[in-house]
Amino acid sequence: MTKIETTLSTLLLDIGAFYKPKEWHFLTVNGIDLGEGKIELQWIFSKYGVKDEVVLYYALSDYETPVPSLVALIPSSTMGEREIVDMFGLTVEGAQKGLYLDKDSLPHPLRGDV
């Protein structure tokens, strides 16, 4: 597993230069709450036909900063982005709320302060 650090502002450039649809399989977007308002966002890729080759881009952020959407590059990232919006209460451009949660259920359940 290769871990590469990036920032939210350069994310689109980094992944745009890296991602080739016929070479890399996009796994998912992941978020990890680090506590005290900090959050670690991860974008994970694996290579077709090669053993144990996983590349993980990560960026540190907080709850308020909007996260850039990767849909233009990778159409299948919509689901992961909608999930992050629901589970952490972040804002992602173009992603709607309400994939899993209802109006009266716990808002952003995976945040550390819940």
Binding site: Q96, G98, Y100, L101, D102, D104, S105, L106, P109
Partner: protein, 175 residues
């Protein structure tokens, strides 16, 4: 109407709804309908239509999004009806007891007649539960049983409880 009731008891049709289970009990219900256990010996057919069903098989602890559908399906089944809770998580919440998006068993919402144990419940237990449900169905009257938690108002039309507005219609502005 008594004429039809006798026939309904001979061939109870079932309605199956998944209110958030892990699919384990659902595939066991399918296996029970399959050739090895063959529920159709009891005259059972799995229908997709609540208005033709007599036995309501529910699996899963009630999740927040499925509760309105559950109550609505329940109110649409004509009386007398029997509710069978299949599996641990349907009866008491099981391993999902206390999770933030579930409701600890379907008897928080609708009256349950038979609780089937097991995680996942086996076809043998489902058949046992259905046989118990058939016995209960014979003793049941046509009085309307209300679900415990309602989303709409209770109405009476001419001294009779109306089932029409018991479950609120599903909102279409969710997204």
């Amino acid at each position: 109407m008594k004429f039809f009731t006798t026939f309904r008891k001979k061939s109870p049709w079932i309605l199956h709804y998944n209110a958030g289970s892990c699919n384990g009990c659902d595939i066991e219900i399918l296996a029970a309908l399959g050739p090895k256990f063959d529920l159709e010996r009891f005259g059972v057919i799995n229908t997709g239509n609540p208005k033709q069903s007599d036995i309501f098989l529910v699996t899963g602890p009630v999740t927040y999004r499925s509760r309105e559908r559950l109550v609505e399906l329940y109110t649409q089944i004509p009386e007398p009806k029997v509710v069978v809770a299949v599996g641990s998580c349907t009866s008491t919440g099981g391993v999902f007891r206390g999770m933030y998006n579930t409701e600890d068993g379907i008897d928080r919402y609708i009256p349950v007649d038979v609780y089937v144990a097991g995680c996942a419940s086996s076809p043998q237990l489902i058949i046992d539960g259905l046989v118990t449900a058939l016995e209960i169905l014979e003793t049941k009257s046509k009085a309307i049983e209300k679900p415990f938690k309602l989303f709409g108002a209770i109405e009476t039309i001419g001294n009779k409880l109306s089932r029409l507005n018991m479950a609120r219609k599903v909102d279409n502005d969710e997204n």
